[in-house]
Subunit: 249 residues, 2 copies
DNA sequence: TTTTAAAGTGTAAATTGTACACTTCAAGCT
DNA sequence: AGCTTGAAGTGTACAATTTACACTTTAAAA
């Protein structure tokens, strides 16, 4: 390497001088509007449901849409998603997780908008929908039609995410009442994974995990022998959860 | 329900009229600059590495930074991440996956910038770094210090993502040469998961999967008995890959 | 009291995971 | 050529987990 006269060390060789005005740098970046869209899953009548409203855009008249909103100035995305949930369902402290950003430039008819998809799981019994709002209600995940924007794609991705996550993390309990029977739990898994499971092995598995608390109570309103009601022991789970290490593909 | 005179059906009861001008709607949304940051993993000298440059901001002088850039007008995020990779490493068709958005308003000293983190896995041998650019080079993931922005956090999240993904999906092969010995493969897993594995059981597992093609070639340049070289059969994998169904938490 | 429908329960076989040690081979050295 | 070095390559017994499968019990409703 040839050292020019007067240059004494590496740092002086650098081509680009440091940027002192970070704000000015940012000002050169293109700006984009951001929204969050919540894929809110519920479980009812042994079916996985998703909460939708009618789109309020003329161009999507009669089509269905996820619950979403623009992200506010200086609002963290998680907060925005929680806000949307609160505004629509009245619920706070709902299970919520960021899943993916969707960025196709033509995904919104009004121009480019990025949207960050969030998955949320909530117990249908525990909340009162404000049905006034654009026919807000639950749709079976299996028979969706006429979705606005790229919302079908977003739901498909989030549903895949849920199928995977529910097997490695005890998310499912967020979809059930606080006290549930093993039959309800199994119905939930069967509905989400769209498979049939062996009842005895399913029970064996969950009892072996030892995260179910027997409440001593029994099901009510069933026209046959009632099942025991259990609660999930989130505390014990979080203390005990194993770290996972096994190659499998 | 009381029906007002003159109102004849449900659709006329609706409070909010449909929005005809989608563009105008979007214009009311706050605007944010977006960047992508690439966490580019490599594997060398039996260590997991990540590709970093010196920050070019005065405020982060001497600190290290991920490879990132602003997302251009109408650019899809995946394209932006691929562009960053191409510009910095000269490589196309690199494994790349979106991981997470980071949105803390104070994460950038110049003002609010959202960034979308991408993980990328590449074979260090296969590319030529343009070392002129801000001391671009590989850092052991285990001894990172002095990261700019929230890049330490981003790397931590992406490393966790990698540890999980590599166990359920054959990503690891992207980090190895096309032909590799089983020892190299095991070293890779041990480095990424930060655990020791039993050599015989490791072999048994991979041979049982039956995705390794024996090239008939042997290692070179080793001062002891050379191992066989294998290739991963991506084709067979994608034909055969099992759908995964086992509750485990 | 009988019927109905699901709750609740156990075992044997197969599969998978784990722990563990010696022989083989090529290269490098003398 | 023979010896040394160091990792490659290999198998088995045991434990743990997964799978397949059928009868008895229970409460409610008729």
């Amino acid at each position: 390497m040839i050292i020019e006269p007067g240059i004494v060390n590496d740092s002086e060789i650098k081509a680009t001088p440091l940027i002192t005005d970070a704000k000015k740098l940012i000002d050169s970046y293109p700006l984009v509007p951001i929204t969050v869209d919540c894929v809110i899953f519920g479980f009812d009548e042994n079916e996985l449901k998703v909460l939708l409203i009618r789109s309020d855009l003329e161009i999507f008249k009669e089509k269905w849409s996820l619950l979403g909103d623009a992200v506010k100035e200086n609002e963290v995305l998680d907060d925005a998603a929680n806000r949307v949930l609160r505004e629509r369902t009245g619920m706070d402290d709902v299970y919520l997780e960021q899943v993916k950003v969707f960025s196709q430039p033509d995904r919104h008819p009004g121009g480019r908008v990025l949207t960050v998809a969030y998955c949320s799981l909530l117990n249908i019994e525990h909340h009162q929908l404000k049905k006034m709002d654009n026919e807000l209600h639950w749709h079976s995940i299996k028979h969706l039609i006429d979705m606005a924007f790229d919302h079908q794609q977003i739901i498909d991705d989030c549903y895949g995410w849920l199928q995977k996550r529910i097997q490695e993390h005890p998310l499912g309990f967020n979809l059930l009442p606080e006290k549930f029977s093993l039959r309800e739990l199994q119905n939930l898994y069967e509905a989400i994974l769209d498979i049939k499971m062996d009842r005895r092995n399913f029970r064996k598995k969950f009892f072996a995990m030892d995260f179910l608390i027997d409440t001593g109570e029994l099901e009510d309103d069933v026209p046959h022998r009632p099942g025991k009601l259990y609660q999930f022991d989130f505390q014990k789970y979080s203390r005990t959860k194993k770290k996972w290490s096994g190659i499998d593909f």
